[in-house]
């Protein structure tokens, strides 16, 4: 793996990911929760997707979730900056939202629906000359790490 300077790295999308340390070694997925109907969404929202209320609050989302589905992408889309094949996972968070991202650090034979995963951050450079951004990914979690966060169902 190439080495990157982690100084002043930006999150891949500041509406979805906040970096908690100057070097980007930890971060938090961001969401919005509706104070009217309780529905929670990943990323930004101005009105609630479910009830259209504008009475929303920003929330930090759990960094652990369950693999709802996955695929091993053998033919990547144009501009994909990572290795091929790569694993794409749809992960269900305890708060409700599903978050799509690459699943790393796992053998293909260990993939299964229901697997507990945790947030992992990696720097990714787009192309040869593009910016390097911190990208949120999923990695297998051990059982203790994957337990629901306090206050979630």
């Amino acid at each position: 793996m190439p080495t990157y300077s982690r100084k002043s790295l930006a999150p891949v999308d500041p509406r979805r990911l906040r970096l908690n340390d100057p070097d980007g070694s930890s971060g938090t997925l961001l969401g919005m929760r509706c104070l009217n109907c309780e529905v929670c969404v990943f990323g930004e929202a101005i009105f609630c997707q479910a009830c259209s209320s504008d009475n929303l609050e920003s929330v930090d989302l759990s960094s652990c979730g369950i693999l709802y589905s996955y695929t091993i992408v053998r033919v990547p889309p144009e501009g994909w900056p990572g290795p091929v094949p790569y694993v794409l996972g749809e992960v269900e968070l305890p708060e409700g939202p599903h978050v799509l991202a690459e699943v790393i650090d796992i053998e293909h034979s260990d993939l299964r629906v229901g697997l507990e995963v945790r947030l992992a951050l990696e720097p990714v450079q787009a192309g040869d000359s593009g910016p390097t951004l911190m990208v949120y990914k999923w990695a297998p979690s051990d059982v203790t790490q994957a337990l629901p966060q306090e206050g979630s169902p």
Binding site: S69, V73, R74, H98, V113
Partner: protein, 384 residues
């Protein structure tokens, strides 16, 4: 959702199709015009009588392609609207033509669509979107996620999914307009190149070029244009929806496998027919899993059971719910802007009893359904 009430009865009087495939050396406007000429010839409507046209296409290949395509037919000064609504662009153009007539504004309307889709995996977002970094912007990967979950929840087998493609090729082998006409077996499908597991190449629609066109008319105006009522097919519903909240807190279309349900319900209500009345159906089978979940969204089988219906042959030409009788996206190919109107072409051809070797037995009601990025979904119902 507010649903406008149709006023005037609308019929399709003419349909035209350019073969789907690869046509290097033929530009988008030329491709589009050829289907329009076929549709005008099919019904005998004179170009100068067409008061409005809607053109579906997605990929940018110059401005005002609809106007360019029609210019060589004569500059009649009519409103021409270029429509981009992802994979439902053509069917959205048809929807606009339908509402233009039923609302009483126009007697006639032309809906047409064309596309020259680039090769390789289809992406939805702009090249600098974060989703390109994250890896989620990959149309077939989205279908693969749905497929894995569907198999897990419903016990659907890989060979059941593959049978969707086998059936598509069988139908396309009877259709001279199809991009892929060679038949193959379940084993061929499963052993073809993996694209995004569990989807293999032969379970993904080809990216294609092609065009399709339809001429619509108010039923009460048929006589004044000297049109043949016996070949006119009634449009008894046309619905268009975008995404509803799906309980998953994101707008990625991988998360909405049953996004067609609201459009299906609206169309059934508008038409007064129900799933039990449907004699044939064209659905958006960009991947094998798509066909199954669209069949279920249209309530033609219970949820989770369309794979069984497929294995039992119920969706074949000779089954009780023939699906994608011309080969569908999987074998006809998928030129985005043309696909929705290609479905209209096939439905009208079948309801007229003019489908030749792939004719289903005496159909009276046909459904066409498209869906695309943005959860854009159309459902149209036709009857003779």
């Amino acid at each position: 959702m507010t649903q406008f009430r149709p006023n005037r009865e609308v019929v399709v009087v003419g349909v035209g199709l350019h073969p789907f495939g690869r046509f290097r050396g033929k530009d988008l406007a030329t491709l589009a015009r050829e289907a329009v000429v076929e549709a005008l010839k099919d019904c005998g409507v004179r170009w100068r009588d067409i008061p409005v046209a809607y053109f579906g296409h997605v990929y940018y290949q110059g401005m005002s392609v609809g106007e360019t395509a029609l210019a060589s037919l004569g500059l009649t000064g009519i409103p021409i609207v270029n429509v981009e609504n992802a994979c439902s662009s053509g069917s959205t153009a048809f929807w606009q033509a339908y509402w233009g007539i039923t609302s009483g504004v126009f007697d006639l309307a032309l809906a047409f669509g064309a596309e020259k889709v680039p090769g390789g995996p289809v992406t939805v977002t702009a090249a600098d979107s974060p989703d390109r970094f994250i890896g989620g912007d990959h149309m077939m990967a989205g279908y693969a996620l749905r497929m894995r979950r569907y198999m897990e929840e419903n016990g659907a087998t890989p060979s059941a999914l593959a049978q969707v493609s086998v059936k598509a090729r069988q139908n396309a082998s009877l259709n001279p307009y199809a991009h892929r006409k060679e038949t193959f077996t379940v084993e061929d499908v499963l052993s073809s190149r993996p694209i995004a597991d569990p989807l293999t190449l032969y379970q993904c629609c080809p990216t294609s070029e092609g065009s399709a066109a339809a001429v619509l008319c108010a039923r009460d105006a048929l006589r004044s244009y000297g049109l043949d009522e016996s070949r006119a097919i009634r449009v008894i519903a046309a619905s268009l929806t975008s995404g509803n909240y799906n309980g998953r807190g994101s707008d990625h279309s991988a998360f909405s496998p049953y996004r067609t349900e609201p459009a299906a319900l609206a169309a059934y209500e508008m038409s007064g027919v129900g799933p039990e009345d449907v004699d044939l159906v064209q659905v958006h089978d960009a991947a094998t899993i798509g066909e199954l979940q669209q069949i279920e969204s249209l309530q033609l089988t219970p949820k989770g059971e369309a794979w069984r219906a497929t294995v039992e042959g119920r969706t074949a030409l000779t089954g009780d719910i023939p699906v994608n009788t011309d080969g569908g996206l999987l074998a006809m190919g998928h030129p985005f802007g043309a696909t929705g109107i290609r479905m209209v072409h096939e439905t009208v051809t079948q309801l007229r009893g003019e489908a030749g070797a792939r004719q289903v037995n005496n159909p009276r009601v046909g459904v066409a359904q498209c869906s695309g990025a943005g959860d854009v979904t159309t459902v149209q119902i036709f009857a003779r």
